[in-house]
Amino acid sequence: MIEIKNLHKSYKMGSNSLHVLKGINFSCEAGELVAIMGSSGSGKSTLLNILGMLDELDEGSYDLDGVPIKNLNETKAAQYRNKFLGFIFQSFNLINYKSALENVALPLYYQRVGRKERQEKALKYLEQVGLKEWATHLPSELSGGQKQRVAIARAMAAEPKVLLADEPTGALDSKTSYEVMDLIQKINDAGNTILVVTHEEDIAEMCKRIVHLKDGVIVEDKKVEQVRASQYV
C-alpha cells in the first residue's frame, strides 16, 4: 500500500540546513495498523506530513497504492489527499461553526458528492463512531473524545486508502484515549490501513506494528502482539 525508498528531507533554516529524515525505507501492506514512535525531533511528524502529501520529499520515492507521489502541484495534491488519505489530528481540527454531520460530510463535499448522498454517508459514519444522536451538535457541545470520534468519522467518510493519525490521543485522558483506540482498532479490523504517530508506549502497543524513529532514521521496526483497547474500556 505504502512504499517509501531512501527518503530524505531537510529544512533550510537560514544558512543552516537541518537534515530531518536521513534515508527512510518503509513499506506497509493494506490492512496494517502501524504505530510510528519517536521522541520529539525524531522526524516522525515530518514523515507523516510527507505521507500525507502536506510536505514534499527531497530525495527518494514514495508510492501510494501504486501511484508515485512526486512533484505534485497544490491542486493535484489536494485531489490525491481527498481520494487517498484521511487525516486525524491531535487537536481534532473540526470546523467550529459546522455541526458534527457537516464536518463529517466536508471531504465528500470536495469530492462533489451530492448533498443528499453526502448527508446519508456522513450519518452512516457518525453512527459507526456511535455519535448518530449528536449529528446536529456543534463541536463546542461535544467532549474531547466525542470530537475525536467525529474527526475519525470525517477521515473515514471519503473512504480513503490510508488513515493518518497524528497523536490522535494526545489531547485526551487515558480512558477516552482507549475508547478512541478501540474505535481505531475496530476500523482496522474492518480492513482499513492506519498509521498512528504517537509517543505513548501503551497506545503504540495497541497497534500491530511499531516503527521507532530516532534522529531521522528507523532504528526499530517490529511486529507486536496487539493489545486490545476494549479491555480497558
Partner: protein, 420 residues
C-alpha cells in the same frame, strides 16, 4: 463558474459570513453608505435639475430681456444722463442684424416698474391691474396657458387694433361673478370697453407670471395709452444652438448704434439674460451630479477596501480552518473562489440594499416636497448610473477580494495545521 452556481458553495458562504454577524454587518455598512450617498445625492441633483426645468418650462430657455435706461457717457454731442427710449422700429433692425434671434416680442406695460397700473372696471366692480401691450409672438417665448374656450392675442387683433383682452384668473374672480362666463364678456380699461377673449392660467411658482395680468394687443395699447412707437422692453428668444451671451451683446451693440449711445456705455441699455442664468443653474445641478459621483465613488471605494480588510483579518483567523479544508481535499482554486465569492457577495448585497434604501429615501423626499414650493421634483437616478455603480462594485469587490483570497491560498496546509 461551476462553483458560483452551486447551492453548496452558497451554503458554505452563508455559514462563514453568518458566524460573525456583527462583523459582517459592519463590513457591509461601508459599501452600503457609499452607494446610499451616491444614489441619494445624484437623485437629489437630478430632482433639482427637474425642478428648475419644471419651474421654467413656460419660458424659453435661451431668452433674454432688453430695456433702455439713461446714458452714462456723453457721445456724439449728447450729454450724459440722456434717457433712451426703445422704439418699435428697433425690432425690425434687430431681426435683420442679429440672425440668431428666433423670436422678438416688443412689450409695453403699465403697473410694473413704478408706473401706475391700469384702472379696470366692470359695472360696479373695479381694480388696478398691470396691463401689457403684447404681440402674439410673446407666447413663443413665454408660454401662456389659456383656459379652454379662450385664446391669446392674434395677428388680426394687432392689425385691426381690436379692443380685446386676455385676463388673469384673479382678474376674472374679482371682476366676474363665479358662474359668469368671462369669454365674450366686457371689461373697461381706462374707460375703454374691451372684450375678454381668454383667461390665462396662473402657473404656480413661476417668476414671470402674475395671476392678475391683463394682456391687450400692442397696437391697441399704444392707442389707449398714447405711447406711439415706444417700447418698454424687448423679449427675445435666440435659436437653441445660439450663444446667448453673444446674441445679447449683438443686440445691445445694435441698439447703442441706433440710439447714438457710446459703444462703451454699458449702462444705457439694460438686459437680463435668462439663458445665461439657466446655464448657471443647470451648471450647478450638473456640478452637484458630478460631486455626488465623486463622493459616491470615493465612499464606495472606502467601503470596498473595508470589506477587503475585514476579509483579510477573517482569512487570518480562519488559517487553521482553511488548512483543514485543504487537508480534506479543497483545491487552492476552491479556497480562492470561496473568498472571492464572499467578497463579491458582501459588496453586492450591501450595494443593492444601498440602492433600495437610496431609492426609498428619494421617493420619501419627493413625497415630502410635493406641496412645498421648491425647485425640486421627481428625483431619479438614471438606470445606466445604477447599473454602472453595480458594475463598479462587482469589479472592486472581485479585485479587493483577490488580496485575501491570494493570502488564503498562499497558506500551506501544513503551516496552517501547525498553527495552534
Amino acid at each position: 463558474m461551476r462553483q458560483l452556481f452551486d447551492s453548496d458553495t452558497w451554503r458554505e458562504i452563508f455559514q462563514s459570513i453568518g458566524k460573525n454577524r456583527l462583523r459582517t454587518f459592519l463590513t457591509m455598512l461601508g459599501v452600503f453608505i457609499g452607494i446610499y450617498i451616491y444614489i441619494g445625492l445624484s437623485g437629489a441633483a437630478k430632482g433639482l435639475d427637474n425642478g428648475f426645468e419644471k419651474e421654467f418650462e413656460t419660458v424659453a430657455r435661451n431668452s433674454m430681456f432688453i430695456w433702455a435706461q439713461s446714458t452714462s457717457k456723453p457721445y456724439a454731442g449728447f450729454k450724459t444722463g440722456r434717457q433712451i427710449q426703445l422704439k418699435l422700429q428697433d425690432a425690425e433692425v434687430l431681426r435683420r442684424q442679429v440672425p440668431e434671434i428666433e423670436t422678438l416680442a416688443p412689450r409695453n406695460v403699465r403697473g410694473v416698474f413704478g408706473s401706475s397700473p391700469g384702472v379696470v372696471t366692470r359695472g360696479i366692480k373695479s381694480g388696478n391691474y398691470s396691463v401689457f401691450g403684447d404681440f402674439p409672438e410673446f407666447t413663443k417665448i413665454a408660454t401662456k396657458n389659456i383656459y379652454d374656450g379662450g385664446r391669446f392675442i392674434n395677428d388680426a387683433d394687432i392689425e385691426q387694433e381690436r379692443k380685446v383682452a386676455v385676463i388673469g384668473e384673479r382678474t376674472q374672480k374679482e371682476l366676474f361673478d363665479e358662474d359668469e362666463e368671462p369669454i365674450g364678456g366686457y371689461i373697461e380699461i381706462e374707460d375703454v370697453s374691451f372684450q375678454v377673449v381668454g383667461v390665462h392660467k396662473f402657473e404656480g411658482g413661476g417668476p414671470f407670471d402674475n395671476d392678475s395680468d391683463i394682456f391687450i394687443p400692442f397696437t391697441t395699447y399704444r392707442k389707449l395709452y398714447n405711447t406711439g412707437d415706444n417700447v418698454a422692453w424687448f423679449t427675445v428668444a435666440a435659436y437653441d444652438d445660439a450663444d446667448v451671451v453673444k446674441v445679447e451683446q449683438d443686440i445691445k451693440a445694435n441698439l447703442r448704434r441706433i440710439h447714438k449711445v457710446d459703444p462703451e456705455d454699458e449702462k444705457a441699455i439694460g438686459s437680463f439674460n435668462l439663458g445665461e442664468v439657466f446655464k448657471q443653474i443647470f451648471g450647478f445641478a450638473n456640478g452637484l451630479t458630478f460631486l455626488s459621483l465623486i463622493v459616491g465613488i470615493a465612499t464606495i471605494l472606502a467601503g470596498v477596501i473595508g470589506i477587503g480588510n475585514i476579509l483579510l483579518i477573517s482569512v487570518k483567523e480562519r488559517t487553521k480552518e482553511l488548512g483543514v479544508r485543504r487537508a480534506l481535499g479543497a483545491t487552492p482554486a476552491e479556497v480562492r473562489n470561496q473568498i472571492l465569492i464572499e467578497s463579491l457577495f458582501l459588496t453586492l448585497l450591501a450595494g443593492i440594499i444601498g440602492i433600495i434604501m437610496g431609492a426609498l429615501t428619494l421617493s420619501g423626499i419627493n413625497a415630502l416636497t410635493q406641496d412645498v414650493d421648491l425647485p425640486y421634483s421627481n428625483p431619479t437616478v438614471p438606470i445606466p448610473y445604477v447599473i454602472g455603480s453595480l458594475l463598479l462594485m462587482v469589479v472592486l469587490g472581485v479585485l479587493i477580494g483577490l488580496i485575501p483570497a491570494q493570502r488564503a491560498v498562499s497558506i500551506k496546509p501544513i503551516d496552517a495545521l501547525r498553527e495552534e
